[in-house]
Amino acid sequence: MAERKSRKAPAAKKAKPKARARAAVAKRPAPKRAGAKKAMSRKAVAPAARGLTPSQTVGPYFAYALTPAKYRLKPIIADDLVTPDAEGERIRIEGRVLDADGKPVSDALIEIWQADGKGRYPAAGSARSNAAFKGFGRAASNGDGRYAFATVKPGPVPGPNRTMQAPHVSVSVLARGVLKRLHTRIYFDGEPGNARDPILALVPASRRATLIAKRAEATGAMPCYVLDIRLQGSGETVFFAS
């Protein structure tokens, strides 16, 4: 978690996983549920009986494990979500991660989760092939704090009480100095559904713009949406309690 500046260092050697691990998973009895020890209401005890494992920062050194492309390890989650079966308009989403002083956060991990162009999330629990659209991506910010994804533009998805949610991408922001995951969303400028979106409606109007990516001038073949993530200070991104 040190505040250190980059220095050239030897690249990691290519991992050569052996076919089999010696890791025989230990057969152990299920841990006992802690019962109510004192006179507490059952409502209070039941969920608290097994306290959540608390969060800790991802720290500055995750890249060789979580976004390892430049370490020549095989990533299983990447910043390119596009698969041959992915339905929807091919787009790029990019932006910068900035701190309270407007300085780039060069060691952030951004994860996105989204529906496809038809508003469908990959079915949970189905063991689909790795070639299928996963709807999930990961990118590390670079020295300028920049992150970027290649994906498809999501379609509208159902919201609470028969509402429809405007097209959006769910975002997790993790970084050194971020003790617990920050949850935000990326919406798309110009979407008529934004005005009726039940989540945007919960956000003070003056702060909604922090969640809406602007379409950039077309420079390449692919439309590009741009949104900066400001962790603190002027124009601070809206983060959710979920």
Partner: protein, 236 residues
């Protein structure tokens, strides 16, 4: 507000701002979080199960030509939700420093040797009972520049998915009896002592393999759907 996953357990988490951990001062939101209901977007999540990992990915001592230096360890445990249900077929990723306290990461310039036989990254998927297991070497403590003479207690970084966007967890596992706990603002950022202690694995002789490796148990609890029958029977 519709909260399919109860929020009460989240009080175990550290606050975003913990001034003793200097980087949080400019990286923690100051505006209030906006409370949102759990919609399809939060209740779904990616699946990276057994098909995503190779069995060798969970043995960090077998990724190079030779064996890494250090004390060989087995780290295993169960991933369950708050209600004790196993979290099955879910991706667990780990990364750590080598036995000398040095990360492969190019930004790490701690004056300690890299180990040509150790990268320090691994992954596996939980089984039908929520169990996972890794083989590695015990990581060393390492210095950081948060304050004068700042050292991180030995730890392994964990990343878990669970079954929805809401169950995602990134944390760190520590080792029993580390003298550095009292001085580490990251460990100390967790306000509740009991919650903090849940990040410390337990040495277990049963898990230890004679003449081969020490065994440590680290159970992990992710958010659950709050289907405690006493509370609300409407969601399963």
């Amino acid at each position: 507000m519709t909260a399919t996953y109860p929020r009460a357990g989240l009080k175990a988490d550290p606050p975003s701002l913990h001034p003793d951990y200097a980087s949080t001062r400019t990286r923690s939101p100051k505006q209030p979080l906006v409370v949102i209901p759990h919609t399809l977007s939060e209740l779904t999540g990616p699946v990276y199960g057994q098909e995503s990992v190779l069995s060798g990915d969970s043995d960090l001592t077998k990724q190079h030509a030779g064996e890494p230096l250090g004390e060989r360890i087995i780290v295993s445990g169960r991933v369950t939700d708050e209600d004790g249900r196993p979290v099955r077929n879910a991706l667990v990723e780990v990364w750590q420093a080598n036995a000398a306290g040095r990360y492969v990461h190019e930004v790490d310039q701690h004056d300690a040797p890299l180990d040509p036989n150790f990268t320090g990254a691994g992954r596996c998927a939980t089984d039908a009972e929520g169990r996972y297991s890794f083989i590695s070497v015990k990581p060393g403590a390492y210095p950081w520049r948060n304050h004068h003479n700042a050292w991180r207690p030995a730890h392994i970084h964990f990343s878990l998915f669970g079954h929805s966007f809401l169950t995602r967890l990134v944390t760190q596992m520590y080792f029993p009896g580390d003298p550095l706990f009292a001085f580490d603002p990251i460990f100390q950022s967790i306000p509740d002592v009991k919650a903090r202690e849940r990040l410390i694995c337990k040495f277990e002789l049963d898990l230890t393999k004679p003449e081969w490796a020490l065994g440590y148990r680290f159970d992990i609890v992710l958010r659950g759907r709050g289907a405690t029958p006493f509370e609300d029977g409407s969601h399963g």
